[in-house]
């Protein structure tokens, strides 16, 4: 991260957050460094992520006490939700929101693909979120860099970690959602499938949800928020924008394409790769509070799981 005092350009983070006075390094990693802000996520994408994570938190916090029913925190959490039956109802409501969010994304993505002048760009190449052989090479290169055996891999619009997170949602919705629906309507599904599959579904649902919880609240949180060069927060998904320097750090191939963007007019509409106005104080505050709340609750949940597993 660069020193904020030396290169203060028109749209820099220091201006945005400081409102006239010099501000220390912003909490939000996406607001650090110089260069104009760039639109990275559309409003539609930010809403989808917001709904996905909110429903995910509710699903985890209503499901964990059942999965670890003998843990001391389980009755406390159930009391918080107003009893097992009510927690079950809330769990199903959150599931409906998550599945709706997922479907909204799939339909939106299909529409975007249909309308795109060059759909192949979205399906393959460095603009695409689809995992490709290049990502395996990046993964290996990342480990080489870890051990000082080579330079840091250069990512395009999406790193292999982001692609994994994205694909994991598909896998998770199918596996956890599918087994969840089976357990929600067992009488209906039992018209076609034998009852012991509900035993299988119970295990699949619980273990896969545990994996998702453990992954999101440790690996995802570290990758995007907690690693030393981003700590304590990266709110790019909440505000939708990041500085050009951030883009150079995280997505150098994409950032190279953005050369000369400083001269282009600022777009108040969130359109990919256009210069953006700095996030307002209110939106920064909201993103910070929301982000801290999320990782606070997430790490507390990991603590609860470890408590239940280890004792």
């Amino acid at each position: 991260m660069s020193d904020t005092g030396t290169h203060v350009s028109t749209h820099s983070a220091a201006d945005a957050a400081g409102a006239g006075q010099m501000h220390p390094v912003p909490l939000d990693a996406a607001q650090r460094g110089h260069g104009p802000f760039i639109w990275r996520f559309t409003t539609h994408q930010r809403w989808l992520h917001g709904l996905l994570m909110t429903s995910f938190f509710v699903l985890v916090l209503t499901g964990i006490p059942l999965r670890f029913s003998c843990a001391p925190f389980a009755p406390m959490l159930m009391r918080f939700w107003g009893g097992v039956e009510q927690a079950g109802l809330i769990h199903r409501c959150a599931a409906a929101i998550m599945v709706s969010t997922f479907l909204a994304h799939v339909i939106g993505a299909a529409r975007g693909l249909y309308r795109a002048p060059d759909p192949m760009r979205l399906l393959w190449g460095r603009e695409s979120i689809v995992p490709q052989p290049r990502d395996a090479l990046d993964f290996v290169q990342q480990f080489r860099w870890f051990f000082g055996l080579g330079p840091r891999p250069q990512f395009g619009r999406f790193s292999y970690m982001e692609k994994f997170d994205y694909m994991a949602v598909f896998w998770g919705v199918f596996v956890i959602g599918g087994s969840g629906f089976m357990l929600w309507f067992p009488e209906f599904f039992a018209r076609w499938i034998p009852g012991w599959l509900f035993n299988v579904a119970t295990i699949v649902h619980g273990e896969e949800a545990l994996l998702a919880t453990a992954f999101i609240f440790t690996i995802h949180f570290f990758n995007v928020h907690l690693r030393p060069d981003k700590f304590p927060l990266d709110a790019v998904m909440f505000t939708g924008r990041a500085t050009l320097e951030y883009m150079h750090e995280e997505h150098p191939i994409l950032a190279a394409d953005l050369a000369g963007i400083e001269g282009r007019p600022i777009s108040t509409e969130p359109v990919h790769d256009l210069p953006a106005p700095p996030p307002s104080h209110r939106s920064t505050m909201f993103a910070t509070v929301f982000g801290f709340l999320a990782w606070g609750v997430g790490l507390a949940t990991i603590g609860m799981i470890l408590w239940a597993v280890l004792c």
């Binding site: 059942l66 029913s69 039956e85 990342q142 009488e187 690693r227 060069d229």
Partner: protein, 390 residues
């Protein structure tokens, strides 16, 4: 004589005739002293002693001994006032059977006989009759005698028996023993008779229960020194004091069954039913919801509620649309048991392999990355002074 005077005489004669027999016996007028507290106090010089000796005739009249003369018990007295000390006959002289039975009771082993003798429970002049003990007031008075010594053993108000049963109704009276002793009315081997005295329809069903088989087998084998807590009598499930009622009993059954059926309880808690019940669900199935209560049979026997042929009906109580496929669900799955639940076993291992594998790989990725970044930052900080522009 004027009519009013005649009426008064008639009234006083009637009162004399209908009034309770006063404390008298064979020409003695006991009540001349024993109904007068102040006189007794003067004679004995002690108010406490006077109160002991005071015998209001209403108390005696209302007791089981109401028709007896004073000298029936205090038989050494021939004149009034009488000489001291007064000898009182032992209760056993009229009640030899009760005395003999009492001799085998736990109370007979108490060294301080005065605290556990007949009067400790029955009282002195206010000995209750059988009929009186059946009234609510009589029950309350009788139970108060027990709890006077056995403090803290009162039935909680939530107990279904509170205010309805005498302590002696369950524990026995003259033959009372610790519930751990064979022969106690509360020993599991005798609970069928004791509890069944009131709950006869339940007892009739329970005679066909698998737990009754167990008790019969133990009796036949002469295994009588079994720990009574391990014997499946009525209290094994219902508990003793503070027994839950109705729906609460069905919820509580899980813990009670688990006390003996540990393995099944453990795997039941692995199922949704068990997890929800453990966290207070009022809807999810308990042991009793599937296995029944007093007519439990092993699932291998056709009459069992959990027998293959009856499962659609049993599960259907909560899952009305349950069909033949639905009931192939394993209510007690054992993920570690490959023979019993092969699919559950393989799923469990596959899912755990995925969990450990995925988390392990990413933890490695994250951990090394962390170290790399920390080392880089340290290096940058160390390099900074040399490279600084000024």
């Amino acid at each position: 004589m004027r009519p009013a005077q005649l009426l008064g005489l008639l009234a006083s004669l009637t009162i004399v005739h209908l009034a309770p027999a006063r404390l008298r016996a064979q020409g003695l007028e006991c009540d001349r002293c024993h109904a007068e507290l102040e006189l007794l106090r003067q004679r004995t010089g002690s108010m406490a002693r006077a109160e002991e000796l005071l015998t209001p005739e209403a108390v005696l009249r209302g007791s089981a001994h109401g028709k007896l003369a004073c000298t029936a018990c205090h038989d050494g007295i021939t004149q009034s006032p009488h000489a001291l000390p007064v000898v009182t006959r032992r209760c056993a002289s009229c009640h030899p059977a009760a005395d003999s039975v009492w001799g085998g009771s736990v109370h007979a082993q108490v060294r301080d006989r005065a605290s556990v003798g007949c009067p400790a429970c029955h009282g002195v002049h206010d000995v209750a009759s059988r009929q009186q003990l059946r009234t609510p007031a009589g029950r309350e008075r009788g139970n108060a005698r027990c709890t006077a010594c056995h403090a803290g053993q009162q039935l909680p108000a939530t107990d279904p028996h509170a205010g309805r049963a005498l302590c002696a109704g369950c524990h026995g009276s003259h033959d009372i023993r610790g519930p751990e002793l064979i022969g106690s009315a509360m020993h599991p081997l005798r609970q069928l008779a004791t509890c069944g005295a009131c709950h006869d329809s339940v007892a009739a069903v329970w005679r066909g229960d698998v737990h009754a088989d167990t008790l019969r087998k133990l009796l036949a084998a002469g295994v009588l020194d079994e720990d009574p807590d391990a014997l499946p009598g009525c209290t094994a499930c219902h508990g003793a004091h503070g027994a839950p009622r109705g729906a609460a009993m069905a919820r509580a059954s899980v813990g009670r069954c688990a006390a003996c059926h540990e393995r099944f309880a453990e795997i039941y808690y692995e199922s949704y039913h068990g997890q929800a019940v453990r966290l207070g669900s009022q809807a999810a199935a308990t042991c009793a919801d599937c296995h029944g209560a007093h007519g439990i049979r092993p699932s291998a026997e056709p009459p069992a509620r959990t027998a293959r042929a009856r499962r659609v009906a049993t599960c259907g109580a909560c899952h009305p649309e349950a069909g033949a496929r639905f009931v192939a669900y394993a209510a007690h799955p054992e993920p570690m048991n490959r023979e019993r639940n092969p699919w559950v076993f393989f799923t469990f291992w596959a899912m755990n392999a995925l969990l450990v594998g995925a988390m392990g790989l990413w933890a490695l990725h994250t951990g090394i990355w962390w170290i790399r970044l920390v080392l880089d930052q340290r290096k940058a900080r160390a390099d900074q002074p040399r490279n600084a522009p000024n």
